[in-house]
């Protein structure tokens, strides 16, 4: 069930995600070329505001985008409606956001100290 606002939110988050995914993959490919170790990678990302913003905005966009997408599927395919649908969408958002935030914290904040 999509109205204009959910539709726009989903499009805008897709727009944010696209370059970030490409950036993520490009850096991954680049990083393994020289054989960077985990410690070397974490040394670069931890405490870095740029990487925090990079992955932070990705996690926010993914959580919103995924929650809206699964909301439509659960409504159209499984007939979830009203409060159940609302609850489901927010739970998906919270789960994705929680998992993502934990990863962003570990990679860019923990041990580094921003």
């Amino acid at each position: 069930m999509l109205n204009l606002h959910l539709y726009m939110l989903q499009r805008l988050t897709a727009l944010i995600m696209a370059p970030l995914v490409i950036g993520h993959i490009a850096v991954m490919i680049y990083a393994v070329q020289g054989g960077l170790t985990v410690d070397e990678i974490l040394a670069r990302t931890q405490g870095s505001v740029a990487w925090f913003l990079f992955y932070g905005s990705f996690v926010v966009a993914v959580s919103i985008h995924g929650a809206i997408g699964l909301r439509v599927i659960s409504f159209e395919w499984f007939g979830l409606k009203g409060r159940a649908l609302q609850l489901f969408s927010w739970t998906v958002f919270a789960l994705l956001f929680g998992l993502g935030a934990k990863a962003v914290y570990t990679v860019t904040l923990a041990g580094g100290g921003l």
Binding site: L2, L4, M8, E76
Partner: protein, 242 residues
């Protein structure tokens, strides 16, 4: 004269306040007959209690649409020879609408959604004002013309999988009509219209799979109209936030 001894079997959906089932009838296999001819034959020669709907018989009124071998068709313009499969013909009431009896569906939900989608003209002038000057090559006139030849048959509505899974969705016909009105400069209701087509049942639910385009007997393109509505509602959102 066509050979009247050849027959074929037609399965017709019978329902009268019960669960409903297909019943088989033997009808003449004429070389040149429409699905509506077959249904009429059954009603006139075999079972007069069969209910179905038609009026013009020439593809103008939009009242004869039914599911024919699983696909929505305008039955008065659908030749049996084009759709028959293994000498069998199956005729059922239009999908996505409640059945009143046999092949006659209740069209109320279909038309209520036209109103909900603001597919309704809001006049900006009275009969005493001069006529609006719209040239044939005006881009808005061209866009309106592309969407205008709808006969309200609900074939597209029956073809749409989103209507099936989302009972609130206005559906292709209502949104297509809304789009032709978005392009009507004489109309004074654009804000309410864009708000309506951007609401929960509105154009943003369309998956653009074009089932409606595939089956519209008048070769309209509701998917394109709906894409136009998505564009206009988005533009309006930015206009409002400025």
């Amino acid at each position: 004269m066509a050979d009247e001894t050849q027959t074929m079997t037609v399965s017709i959906w019978r329902e009268d306040g019960d669960d409903g089932r297909f019943e088989k009838y033997e009808v003449p296999a004429r070389e040149n007959q429409t699905v509506l001819d077959v249904v009429a034959y059954v009603q006139q020669h075999i079972d007069p209690t069969l209910s179905y709907r038609f009026a013009c018989r020439v593809g103008m009124c939009g009242s004869c649409a039914m599911m024919v071998n699983g696909s929505p068709r305008w039955t008065c313009r659908t030749h049996v020879s084009k759709v028959v499969a293994d000498d069998c013909l199956e005729v059922a009431p239009l999908r996505n609408l409640p059945v009143i009896k046999d092949l006659a569906t209740d069209m109320d939900p279909f038309f209520e959604k036209w109103v909900a989608a603001e597919a309704v003209f809001h006049p900006s002038k009275t009969r005493h004002d001069p006529m609006a000057a719209i040239t044939p090559d005006d881009p808005m006139r061209i866009a309106a013309s592309e969407a205008i030849e709808c006969i309200n048959c609900a074939v597209c509505y029956a073809a749409c999988d989103v209507v099936e899974s989302n009972p609130d969705y206005f559906g292709p016909a209502a949104l297509n009509r809304s789009w032709s009105l978005v392009n009507d400069i004489r109309d004074d209701g654009q804000d309410v219209r864009l708000a309506a087509v951007g609401s929960n049942g509105g154009c943003h639910n369309c998956h653009s799979q074009q089932g409606c385009v595939q089956y519209c007997p008048n070769e309209l393109n509701p998917t394109l109209s709906i894409a136009g509505l998505k564009r206009e509602t988005t533009k309006a959102l930015f206009r409002r936030s400025r």
